[in-house]
């Protein structure tokens, strides 16, 4: 699953450690989510959405949705 976490974080000039602190998770977790190696659970995704004040689908994009958009 792709995500815009790195961009959203950069817009706010937050480091990975800053975001991790706000989410109450480890910096490794933020890094793993950003690089797409780990998909967060629904509660964490909602937490991210609330933190960035954006809907979940604006932060995360499912591979299937992306492929469908490209096919159109």
């Amino acid at each position: 699953m792709k995500n815009r976490l790195r961009v959203l974080r950069a817009e706010r000039s937050w480091s990975q450690a800053d975001l991790a602190e706000r989410l109450a998770v480890s910096r490794q977790s933020v890094n793993a989510i950003e690089t797409g190696r780990f998909d967060p659970s629904l509660p964490l995704a909602f937490k991210l959405a609330s933190l960035f004040d954006a809907p979940i689908e604006e932060i995360f994009e499912a591979e299937a949705a992306e492929a469908a958009a490209q096919a159109e």
């Binding site: 109450a24 998770v25 480890s26 490794q28 977790s29 793993a32 780990f38 964490l44």
Partner: protein, 139 residues
């Protein structure tokens, strides 16, 4: 090794506390095993007492499972929880392989008596190595 790991400043208080408890119980299981072995080898004790002493190490080992379970329940970081779960699987898998090798190689029944100690050591060391490698990869 566990006491060194406990001093790691990157560990959360929950991780540090769980490791300390796990290490203490590991030590206790070794003590119980040694007592059972010594009693059976060097003292004349009744069969029922030998059986009780042989079963004693099961208590700290069961408690170790509870410590890990408690840690996994309380760990709020889902990614770290995933890494710990993977490390535990590596530990269990390697222990099973080591156990098969030990039972095939060891001809001395005394070696098999201490198989539990080897098992705990192999499990702990493998799980810790697997966890630190995964954490390094996640940096």
């Amino acid at each position: 090794m566990l006491s060194l790991a406990c001093r790691n400043r990157n560990l959360s208080p929950l991780q540090r506390q769980s490791m300390a408890m796990f290490g203490g119980l590991m030590l206790l299981s070794v003590v119980f095993l040694s007592v059972a072995h010594e009693a059976a080898e060097h003292y004349t004790v009744s069969k029922s007492l030998v059986m009780i002493l042989d079963l004693l190490p099961a208590i700290p080992i069961s408690a170790m499972i509870l410590v890990v379970s408690r840690y996994l329940t309380r760990e709020t970081d889902e990614f770290i929880r995933l890494l710990v779960m993977r490390s535990l699987l590596w530990g269990i898998g390697t222990t099973m392989v080591a156990d098969i090798v030990l039972s095939a190689v060891a001809r001395d029944p005394r070696a098999l008596h201490f198989a539990v100690v080897y098992n705990i050591d192999v499990f702990t060391v493998t799980a810790m190595i697997a966890l630190s490698l995964q954490l390094r990869r996640a940096q």
